[in-house]
């Protein structure tokens, strides 16, 4: 028993070290790449990231609309992924003066090589290259569900990392509340609920993102199997605040802007399995951005 515990702990530590070293590299490159952009171009470069990130963040909250007055305490690991296609790898940008002010297609943060424009006398301007090489954009968050009191349960998401060396602070804080509606309708062929979620994500001093979602959900139990689905309105914003590198104009080198993710309405459907204290579910979300989400949870 002691040996298995030691193995488990050492596995965790190894994974943690691998993840931290990988994300440290990503973080620096990510922030450095952003800081080269002026406000006119940075939104195009980051739009697919915000779309995917927002769609992911607003996924995987709940797997049932049946909220009876019973004790529920559940710790889940929720994983989500959005597909990254060709459309997410490029955007159109206007080159800086003195180059021809016609739009050129260049790489987003998910793209490969940035475009190169040539001007008078052979001078060249090279756009920033892409940073992430992904076929899908993944995200994983821990979620704690506590309920049910008056057919209501709360959901908490938290992940924090205090920056060291070149890695900035990272913090996710999310709060949700889901309320069962079945009680108000008497006999219904399925259970119904509504939910509200708010999440805030910070990366260092540069990026702060807020995600808000309101969802209506229905579900039907067949023994240990639950089929669920619903519709959701959501809004995700990203605030960028940084001093642009390589700018001679100190007064105008401060970039402070807010822009929105493009997804606002989604429909989703999924399947859940309740195996005593183990709870597994997966769903597909269709909207402007499509998301696959899956989770495994433990608890009652």
């Amino acid at each position: 028993m002691k040996i298995s515990n030691r193995l488990s702990l050492s596995t965790l530590i190894c994974i943690l070290v691998v993840c931290m070293s990988t994300s440290a590299n990503a973080q620096n490159q990510f922030e450095d790449a952003i800081e080269q952009f002026e406000s006119e171009s940075v939104t195009g470069y980051l739009q697919p990231f915000l779309n995917g990130f927002g769609a992911n963040l607003n996924s995987g909250f709940a797997g049932t609309a049946k909220l009876e007055n019973e004790l529920v305490i559940r710790l889940e690991a929720v994983g989500m992924a959005t597909l990254i296609g060709g459309a997410e790898e490029t955007f159109k940008a206007i080159p800086p003066a003195p180059f021809n002010q016609q739009k050129v297609e260049t790489a987003t943060i998910f793209g490969d090589q940035g475009a190169t424009v040539t001007g008078a006398e052979g001078i060249q301007y090279k756009y920033q290259n892409g940073v992430f090489d992904l076929d899908y954009f993944p995200l994983a968050v821990p979620q704690l569900t506590i309920g049910n009191y008056y057919h209501t349960q709360v959901k908490l998401r938290y992940f924090g990392y205090t920056g060291q060396d070149d890695v900035p602070d990272i913090q996710l804080l999310g709060f949700g509340i889901q309320h069962g509606l079945t009680q108000y309708f008497g006999q219904l062929p399925l259970d119904l609920s509504v939910a509200l979620f708010y999440q805030q994500f910070k990366i260092g001093d540069i990026i702060e993102s807020d995600a808000f979602a309101i969802a209506g959900m229905g579900s039907k139990e067949f023994g240990i199997l639950t089929i669920y689905g619903g519709v959701q309105y959501e809004k995700t914003q990203m605030d960028l605040n940084y001093t642009r590198s390589g700018s001679s104009d100190i007064e105008n080198s401060q970039v402070d802007l807010t822009f929105d993710a493009e997804n606002s309405i989604r429909g989703y459907a999924g399947l859940g399995l309740d195996l005593s204290i183990v709870h597994i579910r997966t769903d597909i979300n269709i909207g402007n951005v499509s998301v696959l989400s899956a989770s495994i949870g433990f608890g009652i």
Binding site: L12, I15, V18, T22, N25, Q113, I123, L134, P142, I296
Partner: protein, 200 residues
Amino acid sequence: MRRAMKKNRAYNIGILINTTLLFFLVVVMFACEDMIRDNFLILEEVAEFEYTIDTDDVNYNETESVNLQSIINDLDSDVEDISFYNFTLQVTNTYETPLNTEISGTIRVKQSSDSQYEPIVNFTNITLEEFQTERSIFSDELTGISLVSGGVAYLIDLYDQQPAPTLDFNVRGTIDRNGEGQNTTFDFTVRVYSQFETDP
């Protein structure tokens, strides 16, 4: 017996939490794996030289140097390529000098170790007022600025050199005070906008 059951339950809860965290971390690790492209990161820098012209003469002649290697060292990255994409002129301070004062001249460049300058751009009869706006030498919005054939190509070649050289930028020319004979003082700023391809 009851104590043993409690201990067993606590152990099982511990295992469950541990397994949940393990699953979470495996998902994160899977997400991190090979997600970073092997691309260069492009950093931008502006080399700025301010020439203070303070003379009662008709002629002026000032030189400033930039050590490209010291810029590279400050970047704290492996620089694979350097290039410049804009070159601008601006009068940043005029002090008491009338704004209708006209200046003409040439910007020249050379490697510090060389003796011969290469002209890049000429400007003719441009008032201080017109130069209060930053002007690109590649823009045709202001008449009176003309590129010297081969000068820009020479500067591009200097930026391509390995190791990165120290460059001397010289501005020299004449001042037309429109018949007024007072001392002329102004700050003439040259900016070279550069890109550094770095290996993160």
